[in-house]
């Protein structure tokens, strides 16, 4: 099917949508569902009435963002004006819908448009999230979907696509921030008949759910990005690796692939061009290390997810020795807007070295938790206090943790830091995939470091010794600190181990495992000191119930 035939589908859907004086978007993502969104959606459908005579189009959508305020619904009037309601109950639904049909929307539970949570965001990747039904291809098409793919196939050569991505300044969203265009060109130039494109949706960082939301709310966006990438590098087969804990995301992607194949947007001879691209979904089985690219490929090939030394990089030798392009799901989410609006437009967003927008999962001790998309370079203060609405319960901001177990903490004195790859790196943290956990004065930084170290020790694949043994030893030392039985020697040993594990581990997991410890040591050394010398936890989190072995020995000798 060519794009002209598709136009018919788009027009039909557009006419259908325009036939309703009022459309209501109901958030059907997990947080809202667990706050009772199912009943709200049912109430909307009941209030809309019989399908043939309904004046209201009820759309179940993906995430709208402010997850702590669910269930959320958004009503769109015929003039395109949108009103969002928070904490909606099924009983309220008829009143809201009638109000909109009569031109008198109720003010109860309404979120004002000027609310900083929405006003300070810039939606590029998430532009469709919360506005289309992720299970219907038509909705994505009406929103301009697959136009970028059609444009790339008909107007651009693969080299031009790579150049466009390079010019946009897009950097990998998985954490390391490797320039995407460079990676694409490497794969494109790599010799080989068979090449692969892989989307990494193994979002293992605890406290991060950007990829999940993107895959659940707008699966076609990811697929379109992958298809453009496949055209650019010359691949015919792609894989989306979805974390095992995200069954909904996997199901939606599978449905999206089928729907796109039926319309000739994926599969053989895409949009009647000579380009063919098949995508398969692979479901992970719960291993953090599979976020590492070589481990991920091992896992897709049905093996234990253990990394192998690089080089060779996947760009030269990945799947079955073929050149493989591996990008994060969010990176692929950026591709269609770049091709459609041009590299120049994209490069105008963000900072000098970090272009575009970034998704963050804002969680922890902050008033408004949820998923946000902000331009790179926004200050941490704006994210926490304007978008996040500050720290609840009268507590004070202590630190923000970015990058999960590979990242670090940003303390209060650096609240005005610009959120971009390089500034965060200077502070000893990393952008990571986008988890942003806010901690208040009731959080103990030694305990947080211990939490991450336990995570790394547990998730270490066991292949290389520094990571396998080093993380366990570091966890033991941190455990002693939080129990009150650590000595000064332990602190020296901890620092030594941090250096050793970081410098000698095989893959990213081990190399970055010491980061949470190093960054908390850098900014909150006094807390470590007081855990050791005074056996006191300033935040009153650690139990400190044990005593150092030396003290116990001395006492037993004395008695």
């Amino acid at each position: 099917m060519s794009l002209d035939n598709l136009q018919g589908v788009i027009d039909r859907e557009k006419t259908r949508q325009d036939g309703f004086p009022c459309r209501v978007f109901c958030c059907a993502s997990t947080p809202c569902l667990s706050s009772g969104a199912t009943a709200v959606i049912e109430a909307c459908k009941t209030a809309a009435g019989d399908k043939k005579t309904a004046k209201v189009d009820v759309v179940s959508t993906g995430c709208m963002g402010p997850c702590s305020r669910g269930p959320l619904i958004c009503v769109q009037d015929s003039d395109g004006a949108e009103t969002t309601y928070e904490r909606v109950t099924p009983e309220q639904v008829p009143e809201i819908l009638e109000g909109h049909l009569n031109g008198k929307p109720p003010l109860d539970h309404q979120i004002p448009e000027s609310w900083p949570f929405f006003a300070k965001q810039k939606k590029v990747v998430l532009s469709n999230s919360g506005r289309i039904d992720p299970e219907k291809l038509e909705g994505y098409l009406v929103a301009g979907g697959y136009r970028a793919l059609a444009h790339a196939l008909s107007e651009m050569t693969p080299e031009e696509v790579c150049e466009e991505i390079t010019a946009s300044g897009l950097r990998g969203r998985g954490g390391a921030g490797y320039p995407a265009g460079l990676k694409w060109s490497l794969v494109q130039k790599a010799p080989g008949d068979r090449k692969y494109v892989v989307a990494n949706g193994d979002e293992g960082d605890p406290g991060a759910y950007m990829d999940r939301t993107l895959m659940e709310s707008d699966p076609h966006r990811v697929l379109e990005g992958m298809a453009i990438a496949a055209y650019a590098v010359g691949a015919e087969q792609g894989y989306v690796y979805v974390r095992g804990e995200y069954p909904i995301a996997a199901r939606r992607l599978e449905r999206a692939i089928k729907a796109a194949e039926r319309r000739g947007l994926l599969g053989s001879r895409v949009l009647e061009s000579g380009f063919s691209f098949r995508v398969d979904v692979r479901i992970g089985a719960g291993a953090f290390v599979c976020g590492e690219e070589t481990a991920l490929m091992a896992s897709i090939m049905g093996r234990r997810g253990q990394p192998v030394p690089r080089p060779p990089y996947p760009a030269q030798s990945g799947f079955w020795g073929c050149p493989t392009l591996l990008n994060n799901v969010e990176t692929f989410g950026n591709i269609a807007p770049i091709i459609e609006n041009g590299a120049e437009w994209y490069a105008s967003i963000g900072t000098e070295t970090s272009k575009g927008t970034k998704l963050f999962a804002l969680a922890g001790k902050v008033a408004n938790t949820g998923l946000i998309e902000v331009p790179m370079g926004i200050s941490l203060r704006e994210v926490v206090f304007d978008i996040g609405g500050g720290i609840p319960n009268g507590a004070t901001f202590k630190a923000a943790q970015t990058g999960g177990p590979s990242g670090g903490c940003i303390p209060a004195e650096h609240l005005d830091t610009s959120m971009d790859y390089d500034s965060l790196k200077t502070l000893g943290s990393i952008m990571g995939s986008g988890g942003l956990i806010v901690m208040d004065n009731h959080s103990c930084m030694v305990d947080v470091a211990k939490f991450f170290m336990e995570f790394c020790a547990d998730e270490s694949c066991g292949k290389c010794v520094p990571c396998r043994a080093g993380t366990v030893q570091m966890h033991r030392i941190l455990d002693r600190m939080t129990c009150g039985s650590a000595t000064r020697k332990d602190l020296d040993m901890l620092e030594q181990l941090c250096r050793m594990v970081g410098e000698t581990s095989l893959c990213g997991l081990g190399q970055t495992a010491p980061n949470p410890v190093l960054s908390t040591l850098r900014y909150f050394r006094d807390e470590y000191e007081s855990h050791i010398s005074e056996r006191d936890c300033p935040a009153r989190v650690c139990e400190m119930s044990e005593e150092p072995v030396f003290t116990q020995l001395a006492e037993s000798v004395a008695s």
Partner: protein, 178 residues
């Protein structure tokens, strides 16, 4: 579905596994997909089941066992009638999810990853369930419950084990079995 007579074990659950094997044309790299289906059908991966999968795919037993034990998702022990999975992601952790686990441990006398002696309840902890906005999150029998308190969780489970239906805050059902 009636048991398939011609299957060596006569157990219809093997049909599900066979279907997946066929779908992937007995390719060895489909091992993880096959194990997913097997666990879905049987609830856990029995040793005989692993041997069956190994033989069907033509892989060494050690290879299949190695993969099954590498990933957290696969369970080699039978699971309890009911499951409780406490999220221990960072967001839940800073909101005191550890206290929920401690409470459950004390009340039911089992560690995470274990099942009560009567086979009624399995306790587990998850890395992150991706519902950080609702932290702390507990998943009981596939239902996601957010903003939990330790006593509340114990109360819920006690009632569930007594045979009362769950009175959850919502109706989210997800096949979270990790």
């Amino acid at each position: 579905m009636a048991p398939r007579e011609d299957h060596p074990s006569g157990d219809s659950r093997f049909e599900m596994v066979d279907r997946t094997l066929k779908k992937f044309q007995y390719q060895q790299d489909a091992l993880i997909e096959v194990l997913h289906t097997a666990q879905e059908a049987f609830g856990y991966l029995d040793k005989d089941l692993l041997i069956y999968v190994a033989q069907q795919l033509g892989l060494p037993h050690s290879w299949v066992f190695g993969v099954a034990t590498f990933y957290h998702f696969f369970s080699l022990e039978p699971q309890g009638e009911h499951s409780c999975n406490v999220c221990m992601g960072t967001a839940c952790y800073v909101k005191r999810a550890a206290e929920i686990v401690t409470g459950l441990r004390r009340h039911f006398g089992i560690e995470p990853g274990e099942t009560t002696e009567d086979g009624q309840l399995s306790l587990a902890t998850a890395r992150c369930l991706g519902s950080c906005g609702l932290a702390p999150v507990v998943v009981i029998d596939g239902e996601v419950i957010g903003k939990e308190e330790p006593e509340e969780t114990i109360h819920r489970l006690v009632k569930l084990l007594e045979g009362e239906p769950m009175e959850g805050d919502g109706e989210t059902r997800e096949e979270v079995t990790a």
